[in-house]
C-alpha cells in the first residue's frame, strides 16, 4: 500500500514534468539540428582565417583640420636628458595636437552607411570615435592619466590652449631642447 502510494506520487511528479516539457515543446520551434545546422550556422564566414586585415589606412583616422597653434600653460614633458619636468616645445605640441586631432576624430564626414540584404545597417567608423588615454606628469613625479573622447577634453587636461593673435605676433623662436 505504502509502495503503491509512493509509486503513484512519483508517476504524478513525472507526469507533471512531462506535461511541462510537452507544453513547452508545443510552444517552441526548432532552432537547429545539432548534427547539421549547428556546425554550419549561416555565418557570412565560417573560418577565422577568412578574416582579412582591414584597410590599415583606417587604423589612424584623418586628423580634423585644426589650423590653430596651441601653447602650453604648464609643464607636461619629462625631459629625457635631465629627467625634470619642463614645458613642451612648439614641435612637441604640434606632434601632440596632430596625434590627438587624429585619434579623437568624431566627425561623421565622409563615413558611409550600408544596408545588407537582411536589413542590417553598418557604418565603418574608419578609426574614429575612439577613446584616447593621455597622461601628464606632476612635479612630485606622479603621472595622471585621463581617458578622453574629444580634442577639447584632451587639450583641457594637458593645459594646451589656442594661441591668441597677440601671442602669435609676439612669438619668439623656440629654443632647441634635447629630448
Amino acid at each position: 500500500m505504502r509502495n503503491a502510494k509512493k509509486r503513484g506520487s512519483t508517476l504524478t511528479r513525472v507526469g507533471i514534468l512531462m506535461s511541462a516539457i510537452v507544453i513547452a515543446i508545443g510552444m517552441v520551434s526548432i532552432v537547429f539540428s545539432q548534427s547539421s545546422e549547428r556546425q554550419s550556422a549561416p555565418t557570412r564566414s565560417s573560418s577565422i582565417a577568412d578574416k582579412r586585415m582591414p584597410n590599415l589606412e583606417d587604423l589612424t583616422p584623418p586628423a580634423v583640420n585644426d589650423t590653430r597653434t596651441y601653447i602650453a600653460e604648464r609643464k607636461i614633458i619629462i625631459d629625457a636628458k635631465t629627467g625634470k619636468l619642463r614645458m613642451p616645445t612648439p614641435e612637441e605640441i604640434s606632434e601632440m595636437i596632430a596625434s590627438l586631432s587624429s585619434l579623437t576624430n568624431r566627425s561623421s564626414e565622409g563615413l558611409t552607411a550600408t544596408t545588407h540584404p537582411d536589413g542590417t545597417k553598418q557604418v565603418n567608423l574608419k578609426g574614429r570615435f575612439s577613446s584616447v588615454v593621455i597622461a601628464r606628469p606632476n612635479a612630485d613625479g606622479s603621472m595622471e592619466t585621463r581617458c578622453v573622447a574629444t580634442m577639447d577634453e584632451a587639450t583641457a587636461f594637458l593645459s594646451l590652449r589656442p594661441e591668441t593673435d597677440a601671442e602669435k605676433a609676439n612669438r619668439k623662436p623656440s629654443k632647441k631642447i634635447n629630448k
Partner: protein
Amino acid sequence: MKNPMSKKLYLSMFALIVLLLTGADNAFAGATVIVINADGPNEGFNDPTPAAPVGGNTGTTKGQQRLIAFQFAADKWGATLDSREPIFVVAAFNPLGPNVLGSAGTWDVFSDFPGVGNYPGAEFPATWYSSALADKRAGMDLDTTSPDINAQFSSNFNFYLGLDNNHGPLNDLVAVLLHELGHGLGFQNFVNEATGANFGNFFNGPRFYPLQTDVYSRYTLDTTNGLHWNEMTAAQRQASAIRLGRVVWDGPNVFAALPSVLSFGSPEVQIVTPPVIAGSYQFGTAQFGPIVGSPDISGGVVHAVDAVNGAGPTATDGCTAFTNAADVAGKIALVERGTCGFTVKAKNAQDAGAIGVIIYNNAANAGAAPPLMGTEPVFGPGITITSVSLTRVDGLAIQAQLPSVTANIANDDSIRAGADSAGRARLYMPNPVVSGSSGSHFDTIARRNLLMEPVISPDLTHNVQAPDDLTLELLRDVGWFADADLDGVADGVDCEANSDMTSTVSVGGCDSGVPNTLFSTGCTISDLIRHIAAGSSNHGNFVSGVALLTNDLRAQGLITAAQKAAIQRCAAAASLP
C-alpha cells in the same frame, strides 16, 4: 617620426595573427579574442629590444612583453564575456605624440541586425551597437572583412608590462588595455556631447540614413527630467551632458551589483544656508590635505582677504597671509583661484585657523570646471585641512550671500560614493565638458575606484566585475547577456544553461543517432531527457517519461517513427536514473 602606418609593413606582418583562446571552459562561458598584430618588423609587438621578465610577464623582448600583456588583458575579457563569435582586435604599438598613451574603439557600428537561430539580434530597432556586441547578439560575424576593435598604443611610453598589477609609479598597461577594450566592447555612446546630436546623417547614393540613438544612450538617464538620452532632443542631451550627479546608468545589472561594489559615504560640498543658494555643488578635490569627509567639516564661510602685492594682485587671491585671520579662524575660507599655487592658498588658510578651504575659479578660468588641485613638495605635505574647488559662478554666488553662508564639506553616509540617492551609478557629466566627460565613464567620485572612470586609477584590480568593478555589469545591460552554453538563449531564461550540445541524442552512453535538436527554449532533446532522468525516482518512470516525450516529438513531426524508437531503445537500455 617614422610613418607608423606603413601599409607595406602591416601587410608584411599580416600572417602574424595571434589567436587567444580564453582559458575558460565552454561550460563556464567565454569568448575567443583574436589579436591581429599590425606592427611591422622590429617595432611595437615585434620590438627586439631585450627586456628582463617582469611581474609574471615572461617575455624576453619589449615586443614579446607587450604582446603577452595585451594577450593577458584580452584573456580577461575573453574569460568574462560569452560570445560564439570571435572578437577581432587589430592592434599596434606606434610612436604616438608626447603624453598620448593609446586609443581604442569599435571598428564598425551596426543596427537592425537579425539573429541566427536562438540569437536575438538587436534588442532595439534603429539603435547603433558596437561591432563585437552586434556579432554576439546576431550569433554570426556581421562583417568578415574587418576587425571588431582597433587599438593603438604608444611605443615610446614607459608602461609597466608586468601582469601582477605591481606597477608602482608606472602606468599599468594591462589596466589601460582593460579600460580601452571596455570602450571597444560597448562601454560608449556615439553622441556628440558638444551638440547633443546622435550618430547618423549619412547618404549612400540616394539612400539617407538619419540620426539614430545607440544602445548605451538607452540606459543613460537624466534624473532631472526623467528622460533617457534616446528619448531626448539634441538640445536636451546637450544640456544633460553637463549635469554632474544628475545623469545615471539605468540598467538592471549595474543597479543590482552596485551595493556590493560601492561603499557608503558620498563626498559632498553642500551649502546649507541661506536657502537661496542651498544645495549640493559640483566640486574638485585636492591632491594635498585630507580627503573630503576626513573629517567632515561644517561651518560658516568667510572670504579671505590678503594684501595686494607682487605675490598676488588682488585682495581675494589668498597668496599672502590673510589680513582677516581672526574672522577666518574656525571657519571655512573662501579664496579665489589664480597667481599662486593651490597649496599656497591652502597653507595661508590653514595658518589663519580655517577648518577648510574653498577655492573658486578666477576670471581667467571663468568657464572652467572645478579643477583637480595638484600638489607640490614645498607646501603640499604640510596641509592638514581639506580643500575643494568650485566653478567661478558658484564661488561668486556664495560670495554674494556672505556673511550668512554656512556649508558642509562632508560625506553623506546615506549615499554610496558614485551612486545617486536611488542607488544608481552616476555617469561623469561635469560642467563644462572636461577630460573624460563624454558620458562614457562612471563618475570620478566612485569609491571604490572603477575601471571605467576617466581616470585610470593606480589602485584598480584586474577584475572587471562585482564585487571589484561594475564594467561587466554595464556591458550585460547593453546586451552582453550571459550565455554559458553559447546557444543564444540568456542563462536567466535558458531551459538549460549548460546544454548538452552533442550532435546526436545520447541516453546514458547509448548514441541513438538521432539529431540532437535545439529548441528556442534553449534545451536540446538530450537536455530534456536529462531533466526527465533527474525527475524520475526509478527506471520505469524514466522510460515512461522518455516515451511521453518522444511520442510528443513524433506527434509534432519533429522526429520520425524510427528516431522515436531509437531513443526509446536507448532509454530502455540505459541505467538511469
